[in-house]
């Protein structure tokens, strides 16, 4: 395989996947837009929200949102706005959705990022260790703990942690988001408990995935063969990890999915001003433009993550590379 044709093939593959991702997002945006009409009741009435539904107000809303035009035209207006950064206005507060989100996105990104880092540095090494000591007491204990962690719901764990480390021991603040800012130590301190909560649930999942992947590799013939050639345990471990890296990396997409769900719950539990909590309250208030915006953004992030995972798979696994080029 000449190197240049490989690179050409890989670029082509990524381009195809990118196109598929955009097509998927288009389909999702269709559905997201349709949420307005899915909601029971008159869309115009819903869009008015708490304001009085006088005929004049209803007519104004109908004009503003083009509700009398065909579905596709309405969609066209909406998607046009989205692509230029305008998601409309919150029914509840009247402020521009984009502005409302901008304040809150920072916290969610910080929270998710911290949780992800905590997860990776704890769960992956634990998973590798458990696989190497499969069947031992250590392995069985940690694995049982992981099963509990996977099943334990974020909010329940969060509240219990809140009670213990926040209330009783007073190590961490109980509620609130702290002073905003990427480098604000106060903010990060407030995020430790929620991030820990998330990391427990997701860490358990990542632990299981890592353990299963490494264990599967350890049972392969090439490990026996490598040992028989006199390779050091360290060299054998390098072989195993390089192979196990692929299934673990590709399932991180699934992990990301879980992370999103968990973030919503963590933010609500700890009263944090992130987009997760914003989504939850917006749903309760039927603040449809906000719901549409957050849902679409989430879908975009997840789709891009899936694309990134595919790219990693092509780069890391020569077999996938070969198949991608054919």
């Amino acid at each position: 395989m000449a190197a240049s044709s490989t690179r050409h093939g890989v670029v082509h593959f990524i381009a195809v996947r990118l196109a598929a991702t955009l097509a998927l997002l288009l389909a999702v945006s269709f559905v997201v837009f349709g949420l307005l009409h899915l909601t029971p009741g008159d869309p115009a009435r819903n869009l008015l929200g708490p304001r009085a539904p006088s005929p004049a107000a209803l007519a104004a809303v109908r004009a503003q949102y083009h509700l009398d035009r065909p579905f596709l035209i309405q969609y066209g207006y909406w998607i046009g706005g989205v692509l230029s950064g305008d998601f409309g206005h919150s029914i509840r507060s009247g402020e521009a959705v984009t502005a409302a989100l901008a304040d809150r996105v920072q916290l969610t990104v910080q929270l998710a990022g911290l949780a992800f880092v905590m997860t990776v540095i704890s769960a992956v090494p634990l998973g590798v260790m458990a696989a190497r000591r499969a069947g031992s007491v250590v392995d069985r204990t940690v694995s049982a703990g992981a099963v509990v962690g996977v099943g334990a719901p974020t909010y329940a764990v969060g509240l219990l942690l809140l009670y213990w480390l926040g209330q009783r021991l007073r190590w961490f603040p109980v509620f609130g988001s702290g002073r905003p800012g990427w480098w604000s130590a106060d903010r990060w301190w407030h995020l430790v408990l929620p991030a820990m909560t998330l990391a427990i649930g997701i860490g358990a999942l990542v632990f299981k995935l890592t353990r299963t992947a490494v264990l599967a590799e350890l049972h392969q013939d090439y490990v026996t063969f490598a040992r028989s050639r006199g390779l050091s345990e360290r060299a054998v471990r390098a072989l195993v990890l390089r192979n196990a890296f692929i299934p673990v990396a590709t399932s991180l997409g699934l992990v990301f999915s879980f992370l999103f769900g968990g973030t919503i719950l963590a933010e609500v539990t700890f009263s944090l001003k992130g987009i997760g909590a914003y989504l939850a309250s917006s749903v309760t208030f039927k603040d449809i433009p906000v719901v549409q915006a957050i849902t679409l953004l989430t879908a975009a992030v997840i789709a891009l993550t899936a694309l990134a995972v595919d790219v990693v798979a092509v780069v890391a696994d020569p077999r996938v590379r070969r198949r991608a080029m054919s």
Partner: protein, 274 residues
């Protein structure tokens, strides 16, 4: 007794709390008929006070009784979700895995699409906007869980389809339907049942998460997730109001998960021998 010992301590250890929970779910209205009785005059009371083992919440409801009553919503909905999801999974997964072709491609794309979205988020948005309610949430979760089961059954079926015993059945001229249900299904069933059990745990967590966020059960109904949501503000006044439902959810989910893992391991072991 020796039969129990042969099983191993996992199913026994997990079985005990689960039997207790199921008993509470079944007999709840008989055991604690007025669990939801409010006592505004009393208000919040700490655990260990007279007549209230775990104290009360801000509406004066006894936490202990409320927790027992909450077992029902923790069992009924999740079990329905798991069963419904697996039924869909078996029907669609078997067709997709056996027939292949457009049906398979379409179903796979559908499953991929659904699996890409976080369950909680989609359930929140759909069930929330359409209008909460217990059975609406159950239906939504059933649909959201089905892609995993469809995928699982499909891949199990596809493994069997290439095996010579299925090809022999085809050469014998047996009808497709007979091959699918009499030959493939019995060999796919153990893994499917094990997954169904695990799905109950995930459904439990999912349902209570949604009721925590305000969906699912109605405002006055006993439900562990709702209890947690109500009790957030009572962390200082009566921590038991938070600990009781939280611990119950964690223990029940963990017990089902451990039991499900054990069943899954046995199913896989017997599948490997085949």
């Amino acid at each position: 007794m020796s039969a129990l010992r042969r099983l191993g301590w996992t199913p026994v250890l997990c079985g005990v709390p689960l039997v207790a929970v199921v008993a509470c779910a079944a007999l709840g209205s008989w055991l604690v008929p007025d669990a939801t009785r409010q006592d505004m005059a009393l208000g919040v009371v700490k655990a260990g006070s007279a007549g209230h083992l775990l104290g009360t919440d801000k509406l004066g409801r006894d936490i202990f009784q409320l927790s027992i009553a909450g077992a029902r919503s923790a069992v009924v909905g999740p079990v329905c979700i798991a069963i419904g999801s697996m039924v869909l999974g078996v029907l669609l997964g078997t067709l997709a895995g056996y027939r292949g072709g457009w049906l398979d491609i379409g179903l796979s794309k559908y499953a991929d699409l659904l699996l890409a979205m976080p369950t909680t988020l989609v359930a929140l948005v759909v069930a929330g906007l359409v209008g909460g309610g217990y059975w609406v949430t159950v239906a939504v979760l059933m649909v959201l869980f089905s892609p995993t089961d469809i995928r699982l059954v499909r891949s199990a079926v596809m493994t069997q389809v290439t095996r010579p015993y299925i090809e022999s059945a085809k050469v014998l001229g047996l009808a497709d339907r007979r091959i699918m249900f009499r030959h493939i299904l019995p060999n796919v069933a153990p893994v499917a049942l094990a997954t169904m059990l695990l799905n109950v745990a995930f459904a439990l967590v999912g349902m209570s998460a949604l009721s925590f966020l305000g969906l699912g059960v109605g405002p006055g109904e006993p439900d562990w997730g709702r209890q947690l949501s109500d009790a957030r503000k009572l962390l200082v006044a009566n921590p038991a109001a938070v600990i009781a439902p939280g611990a119950l959810i964690i223990v029940t989910a963990a017990a089902i998960n451990l039991l499900g893992d054990w069943v899954q391991e046995r199913a896989e072991r017997s599948a490997r021998q085949r």
